[in-house]
């Protein structure tokens, strides 16, 4: 099966039913995308499929053949971090950090669609779960990045 992950074309011999999450993590060693619940409830596994956020734990790999997959590993580069990554540091968002890949990918997709999201927009889209209670800083960082992008 052919996949495009973070701009690289890869050919994998995998079960078509295998969720994208486990292909990324266990077959490709891209461990930035996290396993949290396995039932699309927590969002820790959020990646982009052609720019749209998807929960990779319930996404069969066969359904993304030919699509462009983007994971946290290519959200920004050390030289050119994503505005959200800069905002995340400025607001000191992460604590344990486990849910943050998914948070960032969900937020990045939101900003693509709505460069100036309202609090209501954020509440609607950012359904990722965090056990460390980083929510208010996530919100502040999204607003900060939205401001920086203007």
């Amino acid at each position: 099966m052919n996949l495009t992950v973070n701009g690289n074309n890869v050919t994998l011999d995998v079960d078509p039913q295998m969720p994208l999450l486990w292909v990324l993590r266990d077959s490709m060693n891209l461990t930035g995308t996290k396993f949290g619940c396995g039932v699309a409830a927590c969002g820790a596994c959020t990646v982009h499929k052609d720019g749209q956020p998807v929960r990779s734990c319930v996404t069969p790999v066969s359904s993304v053949a030919g699509a462009k997959i983007k994971t946290i590993e290519s959200l920004g580069t050390p030289e050119k971090p994503h505005p959200l990554q800069l905002a995340w540091i400025a607001e000191q968002v992460p604590q344990c950090g486990y849910c943050q890949s998914g948070m960032l990918m969900a937020a990045a997709a939101l900003l693509e669609r709505k460069p100036k999201p309202t609090d209501a927009d954020i509440d609607e889209v950012m359904t990722n779960l965090c056990r460390c209670g980083t929510y208010q800083r996530v919100r502040a960082a999204i607003h900060r990045a939205a401001g920086a992008q203007a």
Binding site: D15, M18, P19, W22, R25, D26, S27, N29, L30, T31, G32, T33, K34, F35, G36, C37, G38, V39, A41, C42, A44, T71, I72, E73, L75, G76, P81, Q85, W88, I89, Q92, V93, P94, Q95, C96, G97, Y98, C99, Q100, S101, L104, I122, D123, E124, M126, T127, N128, L129, C130, R131, C132, G133, T134, Y135, Q136, R137, V138, R139
Partner: protein
């Protein structure tokens, strides 16, 4: 048995253990250079600090970071004393040695009343109790990250280790440069002399190792440039680009993956299994039956080429499970049993003041209430996992653990290896909250690794296994009563609670050497009930310790997590009965507890307690001390669609000297969120032995849209640093419940709260 007798008999037991052990003062916890790993070009100056060739500083990191920012906080202590930029400090996992043990955590388990154990003027029994437990804890050297104790524990010796290292470097520079010591300055990791000489630490490391500086003391607080200043965490970059390595992210060449299935019936056993179909599935390597050890549940694991393949195959294994011989566990029955025990058993008396019985005898009326709290799961975002490889007689483990030494010992025992044949690497922890004080997953992956031919294997629990095989916060019930005199004043307060004790169960799992046939009274059962600051003339607080068969564990803020709900809601009931404002009522009872009063006033002021709120909104307040820190919270709540909605939580905290105010705010926000999830939704039910909640779908966490705005106000203090990771958890539920009473007129006495 009276409390004092208990402590003295405790001292007798510990005293016997202590015979022959040397006194180990703070200074002896500096360790020796040999404690640190030998690394090419680096020179260790003691058990904590190593200087690299290019002048960098390596810190032996003995504590686990599960989000609380301890790696950063401890680095700040070292950076402060060494006068190096925070970014110049690199971390290296500390080896297994008693200098890295956690003394403060064990001292914190002593059942002393805070008004008795606070400050310098401690009664003999408190002083000697703290001394002897501290001494035993030092000898034990249990390296644990828990009890909100890490900064408090490291505060003296870590700063002393860094100050001593700096003094050695200065002496070495004075020798090499042949200039007077006092003329050398240290700034930003550079030593310099007015004559134009300047060099980094690396130039003097070798010379420093030969120095023995005398009379070193850490900096005076007026000279601090880092401690106490809001400081950006140095550990965040890997957490925003996907490169941080949690336990679940360990990747090794030719690694295999395992998925576990554990007995669904709590306390039950695996009677028989047939893995024929599973073993025939693609990518499957092996099926390993798992025995119970260190508290782990029995079951089996399937090993395959990916976690998904392992899980698919595990689902195909045919099993026959057996209920435990004593009959199936039911939470409904446990609740009824606990309520019955409150009536029939006296319990252990943790605190007595005045004569509560006499006050009750002459009371005009008695106000009584019964409160309950359910079992709770930890639900760390990173599910339970561990990685291991057994090769050439050595077992290497990669674990997201709060107890590396105990986990290593548990692995060595099940593998039948000596401790020195087990190497344990601590990864980052995707949340801990007490769940990772256990060794169950470590002994499971050890059994799997031992059954393989040298291949590394990673065991990942599915969320369903995680939720249904936790060590749960125990269910507790409490009966509270107050005697009201003719003047309408509260003359006495009596509290009796019942539920399982966590500490003895935990000890039996991971510290079996200290676990006996009888449970000693456990402070965690009564903390937050027996140690109230309020000046009621007559008080009696007792706890009935039970063993209901549900595995129970330390859950962020432990006994305080439910006891603050019981006590602070009841105090609100008493304020109402006394026709007083809840803040004013508390303040009249805090005349001898000025630190508490100051915290309460700060929260009330910042929240504008008395000011008008939008229609349909109400304030609720709670005050609670735990892990050495006093926290007051004012919650602004409304009822929307019949459910509580918490809009804002104003939190004041007195946690003594603060290392990083930024981290304190983070931990307060984290605690409020964690506690709000429990207050609104948290409940584990067990039916026919099976835990009913399985995932975030039926054990929900608060979401972004349900989250309040949290404000943190820190009371300036020069007292010793106290806990930060947990103390903001306990007041949240009572603050919310007290606000809900104002809105609905209905007193909620059980968790989770439902309008």
């Amino acid at each position: 048995m009276k409390r004092r007798n208990l402590i003295l008999s405790g001292l007798g037991i510990t005293g016997a253990l202590v015979v022959g052990w040397g006194v180990m003062p703070e200074r002896s916890r500096l360790g020796k250079p040999g404690n640190m790993l030998l690394t090419e070009g680096d020179i260790a100056l003691n058990g904590w600090i190593k200087i690299t060739k290019d002048g960098g500083v390596v810190l032996a990191m003995h504590r686990s970071d599960m989000g609380q920012g301890i790696h950063n906080a401890l680095s700040m202590l070292v950076a402060e004393e060494l006068d190096v930029p925070l970014s110049q400090i690199r971390l290296e996992q500390a080896v297994h040695d008693s200098i890295y043990g956690n003394v403060a955590m064990f001292v914190g388990t002593l059942p002393f009343h805070p008004l008795q154990s606070e400050g310098g003027d401690k009664p003999f029994v408190v002083h000697s109790g703290e001394w002897i437990v501290g001494k035993v804890a030092r000898e034990l050297g249990v390296n644990a990250t828990g009890g909100s104790s890490s900064v408090k524990d490291a505060w003296l010796h870590l700063r002393l280790a860094a100050a001593t290292a700096k003094a050695s470097l200065l002496l070495a520079a004075a020798d090499q440069w042949k200039v007077p010591l006092q003329e050398i300055k240290v700034k930003e990791g550079l030593l310099s002399h007015a004559a134009g000489k300047s060099a980094h630490f690396g130039e003097f490391a070798k010379g420093a190792a030969a120095q023995t500086p005398k009379n070193v003391v850490p900096k005076d607080r007026k000279d601090w440039t880092l401690i106490g200043k809001p400081t950006a965490r140095a550990d965040l970059l890997p957490k925003i680009n996907g490169s941080a390595v949690f336990g679940i992210d360990v990747r090794l060449p030719n690694m295999l993956f395992a998925s576990v299935v554990q007995v669904p019936q709590m306390g039950g056993t695996l009677s028989s299994m047939d893995a024929t179909e599973a073993l025939a599935m693609p990518g499957v390597v092996k099926c390993v039956q798992l025995v119970s050890a260190s508290g782990s549940a029995p079951g089996f694991a399937v090993v395959a080429k990916s976690t998904w393949h392992a899980k698919q195959a595990a689902d195909k294994v045919k099993t026959k499970w057996l209920q435990r011989a004593e009959g199936a566990i039911e939470t409904k029955r446990i609740e009824a049993d606990l309520k019955e025990k409150l009536k029939t058993e006296k319990g252990f008396s943790f605190y007595e003041k005045g004569d509560a019985a006499k006050a009750e005898g002459s009371a005009v009326r008695i106000i009584e209430a019964q409160y309950t709290a359910p079992y709770l799961a930890h639900a760390t975002m990173e599910p339970m996992n561990c990685t291991a490889q057994f090769k050439d007689g050595v077992l290497e483990i990669w674990a997201p653990t709060q107890v590396p030494g105990l986990a290593r010992a548990a692995a060595a025992k099940i593998a039948n290896l000596s401790d020195d044949k087990v190497k344990l690497n601590v990864t980052l922890l995707g949340g801990g909250f007490g769940r990772r004080l256990e060794a169950d997953v470590v002994v499971q992956v050890t059994q799997i690794a031992m059954a393989l031919d040298g291949a590394p294997v990673q065991l990942v629990w599915m969320r369903e296994e995680d939720m249904t095989h936790d060590f749960y916060r125990p269910m507790q019930v409490a009966q509270l009563s107050a005697a009201i005199n003719a003047k309408g004043e509260v003359e006495s307060l009596r509290i009796k609670s019942a539920g399982d004790a966590v500490s003895p169960r935990w000890m039996s799992r991971v510290l079996p050497a200290l676990s006996g046939p009888f449970d000693a009274p456990d402070k965690t059962t009564a903390e937050g009930l027996f140690d109230l600051p309020y000046g009621f003339a007559n008080q009696h607080m007792a706890h009935v310790s039970t063993r209901m068969g549900v595995p129970v564990g330390f859950w962020r803020s432990v006994g305080h997590s439910h006891n603050a709900f019981f006590s602070e809601c009841f105090i609100d009931e008493l304020a109402l009965e006394s026709k007083q404002d809840p803040v004013a009522f508390r303040l009249t009872l805090l005349k001898n507890a000025p630190r508490y009063a100051a915290v309460l006033k700060l929260a009330a002021d910042k929240a504008k307690w008395a000011a008008a709120l939008p229609a349909g909104h109400a304030h609720g307040v709670a005050l609670h001390k735990s892990f050495g820190s006093i926290v007051a919270q004012v919650a602004e709540v409304s009822i929307q669609d019949g459910k509580p909605r918490v809009h804002r939580v104003v939190c004041a905290i007195d946690c003594g000297t603060v290392v990083n105010p930024g981290t304190v705010a983070q931990q307060v926000e984290s605690s409020v969120s964690f506690a709000l999830t429990a207050a609104l939704f948290g409940q584990i039910d067990i039916q026919d032995g099976v835990v009913q909640q399985t995932n975030f779908t039926n054990y929900p966490l608060v979401s972004m849209a349900q989250s309040p705005l949290v404000e943190t106000w820190i009371v300036p203090s020069t007292q010793t640093p106290e806990g930060v990771g947990e103390p903001a958890v306990p007041p949240l539920a009572p603050a919310v419940a007290n606000a809900m009473f104002k809105l609905t007129g209905k007193r909620l006495r059980s968790l989770p709260l439902a309008a």
